[in-house]
Symmetry: C2
Amino acid sequence: MQRVEIEKAQQKMIDYLDTAGIVLTEQEKENIEIADFGLGQLEEQGLELITYINNEHYCAKELVLFSNQTCPEHKHPPVLGSEGKTETFRCRWGKVWLYVEGEPTPSIKATVPQGSEAHYTVYHEIELKAGDQYTIPPNTLHWFQAAENGAIVSEFSTTSRDEYDIFTDPRIKRVPETNG
Amino acid sequence: MQRVEIEKAQQKMIDYLDTAGIVLTEQEKENIEIADFGLGQLEEQGLELITYINNEHYCAKELVLFSNQTCPEHKHPPVLGSEGKTETFRCRWGKVWLYVEGEPTPSIKATVPQGSEAHYTVYHEIELKAGDQYTIPPNTLHWFQAAENGAIVSEFSTTSRDEYDIFTDPRIKRVPETNG
Ligand SMILES: [Zn+2]
Ligand SMILES: [Zn+2]
């Protein structure tokens, strides 16, 4: 992504957080991570996030999804002798549809990103509105999409090691090779 | 504490969270924990909290401190073969003064609760306003007090095992014997 596109998305995340009354330090604002997963279509498939703490035991992040934005399907496999990342998603603002392994929901509310249908394979739907939360076990496929007004999600988890995440879409690079 | 006093404090915590735009489910509202530490002076020494998740790896809570309310000095010792609880305090709203082991701050901003001076022994001050955070290592004495308008603090940590906490004040019972 180009620097100007990253800065625009960072400011948009700050605007979302402002609306919900969530405060970042100036340093954190500069460190907002814009993940387009190497797909070059941030508005459709992407995620905006800030990591508050990530130590050898636990991790806490704030995630923002813009209107109808989707975080692509992935899982957190066992790594370095640990069982893989466990994630608790707590919706703080807006609405998000989370899909995990299990009985497919007959008529899902999200719209699978056009052209990427082959890379979305789990369809058990959990709807999270402000105050709702769900914990995803390690090594479990999941993806999530914000409703029309976007969403803010607090993530509480075991240690984050994003570089080991396994995405269903083989084109995806979680950790960008350049920051353009 | 009497039921009516607990319910009053629970509603007061909900009012604080409303002001900051933090949403709880109805079930969570009923589960708000009011800790007076067995001292019978909740407004001076006490804490209001809700636990979002507490599993074998990590824990996340929302803490509320009313105007000038103090959480008494304590530490989280090694227990069950683990090194003791590590806590990250992230101030979400208001202002809180945190005191930990280390060089005592010459003129602290908090007021030690009257009559309990002997049970407050660490005075290295860290001021946390909305967006500020601090991580307390295991087995380290700490206490904290809200400024005049109160405070809301997100706590990210390793597993909580409150019953093993060690308080400096020998009168304190962290886990109430009855909920009368
Ligand atoms: Zn994930
Ligand atoms: Zn503590």
